[in-house]
């Protein structure tokens, strides 16, 4: 299949993009980031395919209140070995983005735009072909490990399933591989745990199992949707460290979805801030944190309780509430809550403004924000 060959090519390349630093040293400096955002492919980039290229992705969902534009033109690229974060609050479209990539959108959803994975267009691909990619070339980790796992099957069988299905391994070989994977995700007493059921494991252990399943076939892309939100802080730290380590070792691309600014700061080189189905700010994580060029990013940042605030401090809040997808305004989705709003904001969605090299904000007044 042409798509998979393309992927294999990219894989065979030397680990040019493999992260050189552990995530805990923080994202790479802006200049060192090899991903360029949209638009200006240099001559020698034109020959190289990105692992994932999303262009102007639009998703319309059918809701009880009529069609709702859940995504309104999302674009980004992700290479092998790179880490990209999507951050935003409920209803901003971050999970819909992940579902669209995997072809798992709810019934009746309309998708426009392009999702190229390893050079192959995923939008419009028949379900049978998507099935050969999901769990194989694209691994997924979801928020709630208890619902992601089947309570009636042993852990070993669930890890073996993608191996039997996609790789055609025999039962014995799949079991041996499952054991290796459990050891790789550092599950204590892996050999005994192969025959355990999900309810016999703790939340953190279950999430390790889900990660093992996602990694089973050696995917090119790992999508993690709020992988640690249901876990305790210390376990969250362990699981995030584990994901970072695995991504670095295997040189996969990581798309990490989170609502937590701290998780973003620790785990990804590049981030997209989403609001109302739009990417309102994008750039290298360090640059976004240093500048906070969109009023929404700034508001989100200021609202976060931080250690060391004096007792009784009132947090800054963003007035109003997130707009419903069915009644998103024609202009900037944040206009109704923005202290800087001007009439032009309500007319049309603001175009991305170049805040710095590789750093964009969709705000007409970005110069006044920072």
């Amino acid at each position: 299949m042409p798509g998979l060959e393309g992927t294999a090519d990219t894989r065979a390349m030397p680990a040019r993009t493999a992260p050189r630093c552990r995530h805990r040293h923080g994202p790479r400096a802006a200049g060192a980031n090899p991903i360029s955002s949209a638009g200006h492919p240099s001559r020698h980039r034109a020959h190289r395919l990105s692992l994932l290229e999303v262009r102007d992705l639009r998703v319309t969902l059918q809701t009880a209140r009529g069609p709702a534009d859940a995504l309104r033109g999302v674009s980004f690229t992700l290479d092998r070995g790179d880490t990209l974060g999507l951050i935003g609050e409920s209803g901003c479209g971050k999970s819909i983005t992940a579902l669209a990539l995997m072809g798992l959108l709810p019934e009746g959803a309309q998708v426009a735009g392009s999702i190229r994975f390893g050079g192959r267009e995923l939008n419009g691909l028949p379900e049978s072909e998507l099935c050969t990619l999901r769990g194989n070339r694209i691994g997924m980790v979801f928020q709630e490990p208890m619902t992601a796992l089947n309570p009636l099957h042993t852990v070993g069988r669930q890890i073996a399933e993608p191996l039997r299905l996609h790789k055609g391994l025999t039962r014995t070989a799949a079991r041996a591989e499952a054991l290796r994977l459990l050891e790789r995700v550092q599950l204590p007493q892996a050999a005994q745990r192969l025959d355990a059921y999900p309810h016999q494991l703790s939340g953190g252990q279950r999430q390790r199992v889900v990660i093992a399943i996602a990694l089973a076939c050696g995917p090119d892309l790992l999508i993690a949707d709020e992988p640690t939100t249901a876990l305790d802080v210390t376990i969250q730290r362990e699981v995030l460290d584990l994901i970072a380590e695995l991504v670095r070792e295997d040189g996969m691309g990581l798309l990490l979805i989170s609502h937590d600014l701290g998780v973003m700061a620790d785990c990804v080189q590049r981030m997209l801030v989403m609001y109302g189905g739009t990417v309102v700010e994008s750039g290298p994580t360090a640059a976004v944190f240093a500048r906070l060029a969109h009023p929404y990013t700034r508001g989100l940042f200021a609202a976060r309780p931080r250690l060391g605030l004096a007792r009784g401090t009132r947090l800054s809040t963003i007035p109003g509430r997130v707009p419903e997808l069915a009644d998103l305004p024609a202009g900037c989705p944040f206009a109704e809550r923005c202290p800087l709003v001007v009439d032009d904001c309500r007319r049309a969605p603001p175009p991305p403004a170049p805040v710095a090299a590789d750093h964009e904000a969709r705000c007409l007044r970005w110069r006044e924000v920072a």
């Binding site: 805990r24 040293h25 923080g26 994202p27 609050e89 409920s90 939340g203 305790d232 802080v233 210390t234 376990i235 969250q236 730290r237 995030l240 609502h259 937590d260 600014l261 701290g262 998780v263 973003m264 700061a265 620790d266 785990c267 994580t285 360090a286 944190f289 240093a290 500048r291 906070l292 700034r298 508001g299 989100l300 940042f301 200021a302 609202a303 976060r304 309780p305 931080r306 250690l307 060391g308 605030l309 007792r311 009784g312 401090t313 009132r314 947090l315 800054s316 809040t317 963003i318 007035p319 109003g320 509430r321 997130v322 202290p339 800087l340 006044e368 920072a370």
Partner: protein, 294 residues
Amino acid sequence: MADVLLQAESLSKVYRLPRETLISVPPRVQALDGVGFTLRRGCSLGIVGESGSGKSTLARLVMALERPTSGRVVFDGQDLHGLSPDALRRARAGFQMVFQDPYGSLDPRRKVLQTVSEPLAVMHGASRVEQRERAGEVIDAVGLRTSDLDKYPHEFSGGQRQRIAIARALVTRPKLIVADEPVSALDVSVQAQVLNLMQDLQDRFGVTYLFISHDLAVVDLVCDEVIVLQHGRIVEQGDPDRLFRQPQHPYTQRLLAAVPGQHPPRANVAPPLRPFPSGDGRPWPSQGPEGAAR
């Protein structure tokens, strides 16, 4: 001491699990082991710890929803677990609870008025008019409108639902509110609104909070004193300023080290927020309940 509102004296709770086989002794779990503290009126005590550390068991004992295996809970001079059922029901007006999940804690088939005024009906036998009046007062105090009383929970956002849950807790004019992870299920910007509201209500009504959270930053912001629980025991206790700056116990140190976003680029210290040019030149407007989500 007159200004002590709540005192827990070496509270322990042991749960018996179901027998694993017919003849075996049922296994036991010590959920809480000799926990004691004092909470003064108008102050906030934070309880932090991970799942299984006993935080919620402690809340249930303080709320007199369960009996401790040993130890006492003294609320406003009364030993809660020594009261007669009747006296306990009357005493319950003094302490109320706010739960984590505003989607699960409100009855979807009841209007806000019914949910908010139910404690009044149960405890005081208040008249309908009086119930509506009191419900209107508290719904106003949490930044919603009196017209919202005639709506159903599904008509509200998560943050608004948590306001309704807080209104329900306030309606008996309690001295103590036990809040079990009250903002964990909320989005960051909404979480800030609810935390500000809880602090405003404390200033206005002098409520005392027992505040349970796994989020150290939230506890640091709201509480005068913090207890760190691990496996049902207090491992460290003190002023959050000291406790979070110089944690002594290895478990507290581990909790603190795990908080994401502390390493550069540090989300906590990134750029100093310059005055934000809003209309009147003030920094990003801070919202009290009056500016709450509508």
